[in-house]
């Protein structure tokens, strides 16, 4: 058990995997000598050498394609796409190639690649560096998508991703980059498992990634006011942990999903849809999806703050799904 920052926990995970499996290779823009655009690959080039840790040109499509082929040929490549906003440039290779290779070859090939990418929301870097595009990879059969909200999960999910036989997109949060937490030794978080961050009985509040601290804060504030909110951190966006989602709602009867992505085509939309179709009988009120407005992300911090759902907005949504007398309490 060590206390680590979020980015250090990522660095630890990469070091551990490079050390334990020589098929693991790392490449991407600035990941070598500079130690990563944000420090996550610090020290790895000097420790593991230029054959296994490589700086690449700014060629998102080709480096992702190279990772696909390398994975098919027996390596365990970890490729970095600097910002989630640049994923479209890699999406043909990710969605049409990596995701389909096992299916197309009737299982003769698998593609154990890991694609790390960084969600810049809340950095103030503007509309092309702040998007929450997690639903695009999370809608593709053949991919897996995870997003840790704590140093421990960032560490444990990344290791699980690298060890997984399928292509996994691992999203990391600018918002959480310097947050601290305990990381157990040898920690591995199985893909596909949500976790209850805070148990509760009145409302299920689903969240993930950079949103989790705000959801927890909202839940804490509501708890002080007598509303018991269960905070469910999805961690895995594909596959979704449908049993844990339904189980929670079956106990609370109420659902709020809070996300930094806009509504259409989002993971939150799926969560609401899954509960509406498979857990309808348990629902005692209309579910709520809390999202930014349907617009690009503005650059100025005050506008970005207004854009992304904050604690108060989440709490208000929770109150709306509660019966009037309790919500007021």
């Amino acid at each position: 058990m060590t206390r680590r920052k979020y980015w250090q926990a990522i660095n630890d995970a990469l070091r551990e995997e490079l050390g334990r499996d020589e098929r693991v290779v790392l490449f991407g823009e600035d990941v070598g000598a500079p130690g990563g655009p944000f420090g996550a690959t610090k020290g790895l080039l000097s420790e593991f050498g230029p054959t296994r840790v490589r700086d690449t040109p700014i060629s998102e499509a080709a480096i992702t394609g190279m990772a696909v082929g390398a994975a098919m040929a027996g390596l365990r490549p970890v490729v970095e796409i600097m910002f989630l906003d640049f994923l479209p440039l890699a999406l043909d290779q990710l969605a049409n190639q990596a995701a389909k290779s096992s299916y197309l070859s009737m299982g003769h090939y698998s593609v154990p690649l890991t694609l790390r990418t960084f969600c810049g929301a809340h950095l103030g870097a503007g509309p092309q560096h702040s998007q929450n595009l997690e639903a695009w990879p999370a809608s593709v059969p053949g991919l897996k998508v995870v997003w840790g909200s704590t140093p421990a999960d960032a560490n444990g999910l990344l290791k699980a991703a690298i060890r997984d036989p399928d292509p996994v997109v691992v999203i990391e949060s600018a918002r959480l980059w310097s947050t601290r937490g305990e990381v157990p030794d040898g920690h591995v978080v199985p893909l596909g498992e949500a976790v209850i961050r805070r148990p509760g009985t009145d409302v299920t509040l689903v969240c993930w990634g950079g949103m989790v601290p705000r959801a927890e804060a909202a839940a804490a504030a509501l708890g002080a006011g007598g509303v018991s909110v269960e905070v469910l951190d999805l961690r895995s966006l594909l596959p979704l942990d449908v049993p844990r989602i339904l189980n929670s709602v079956s106990r609370t009867g109420r659902l709020v999903v809070a996300q930094d992505a806009t509504g259409p085509g989002s993971v939150g939309s799926d969560v609401v849809r899954i509960v509406a179709t498979q857990g309808f009988g348990a629902l005692r009120a209309a579910p709520e999806l809390v999202t930014p407005p349907f617009a690009p992300v503005p650059f100025p911090p005050p506008l970005a703050h207004a854009y992304f759902p904050q604690e108060s907005e989440i709490a208000a949504a929770v109150r709306r799904v509660m019966p009037k007398e309790i919500a007021a309490g």
Partner: protein, 315 residues
């Protein structure tokens, strides 16, 4: 003997694709079928200098490359027939043949997409210190896709053991190369990356083989990538059923007169008897393969969702 082996490969591809064309015309096959009849020398010449451990990626027009790499025509035909014993269980069809045993990382229906995937094979060989090389086939139309230039750059920078083979057949679908590219030779695109490049007569299998040998040797000895342009022509339409309003029969006839099989016959002496035997053998082999493939069980409906994941845990 090399010439005989090369002839055999070309004849097998010719028979295979001629059979496929007939099967499509008679309604036995579904989907799109892109044939490389007329281009056989490229597949045969290049793959002749490869071993089963070497990696290969190809395109929508990839039957020849796979066969030349050693693929079983029976299982390939079974795949076209959508039969369960095809290379991909009959589920993927003509454009996605793949086989780890032969290093075939896959044909591909996205123009240009196989190129960076081949880089990955080359990278694996380099990292693992294996003496493998990767070869990627693509058409001249694909040269307009940015990812190919990204891949040339990456390969050059990392000195990857890879050979880029461009089959320049003069057309991308219904549009002539002059609409797609300004360069008079695809080799020009290799120059800025300082990648050695050669343009060869793609209908002369011996010339292709020689150039490929040089390129593969270079790759295998750690001297990095090479680009080969093979100038050739497809006799059939872009796909079976293509009305081909974009070219004249005179143009096609010109190239038919340069049939790569005939060219080889002319270039080597005293083998016509053997070649005739090979023609017959291949015709027989494909005829039998067709009968076999047709009789195979269809792709199983129950396989519909198999192998979406290696770890089948996602619902």
């Amino acid at each position: 003997m090399t010439a005989v082996r090369l002839y055999r490969t070309m004849a097998l591809i010719r028979e295979f694709e001629t059979a496929a064309s007939r099967l499509m015309a008679s309604g036995e096959l579904a989907g799109f079928l892109h044939l490389s009849i007329g281009q056989e020398a490229v597949a045969a010449g290049v793959c002749d200098v490869l071993g089963p451990a070497d990696y290969l990626t190809t395109t929508h027009r990839g039957h020849g490359h796979c066969l030349a790499k050693g693929a079983d025509p029976r299982r390939m035909l079974a795949e076209l027939f959508a039969r369960a014993t095809g290379y991909c269980g009959g589920r993927s069809g003509s454009m996605h043949v793949a086989d780890p045993a032969l290093g075939i990382l896959g044909a591909n229906a996205i123009v240009g997409a196989g190129v960076p995937i081949a880089l990955g094979g080359a990278l694996a060989a380099q990292v693992l210190g294996e003496p493998r090389v990767a070869v990627t086939f693509f058409g001249e139309g694909a040269v307009a896709e940015g990812v190919i230039h990204e891949s040339l750059n990456l390969a050059a920078l990392s000195r990857l053991p890879i050979v880029f083979v461009c089959e320049n057949n003069g057309y991308a679908e219904m549009t002539p190369s002059s609409t797609h590219l300004r360069a008079s030779s695809v080799t020009e695109y290799a120059r800025p990356h300082h990648i050695p490049a050669e343009s060869v007569d793609g209908n002369d299998v011996l010339a292709v083989r020689d150039a490929a040998q040089r390129a593969v040797d270079r790759a295998r000895s750690g001297d990095g990538p090479t680009l080969l342009e093979c100038r050739t022509y497809r006799w059939h339409g872009h796909f079976e059923g293509d009305a081909q309003g974009y070219r004249t029969t005179a143009e096609v006839d010109l190239w038919r007169a340069r049939d790569p099989l005939t060219v080889l016959r002319k270039n080597v002496d005293g083998l016509n008897g053997q070649f005739d035997d090979i023609d017959r053998d291949c015709a027989d082999e494909i005829a039998e393969a067709t009968v076999w493939a047709r009789a195979q069980p269809p792709a199983a409906l129950e396989s519909l969702t198999d192998h979406v994941y290696r770890a089948q845990e996602v619902g």
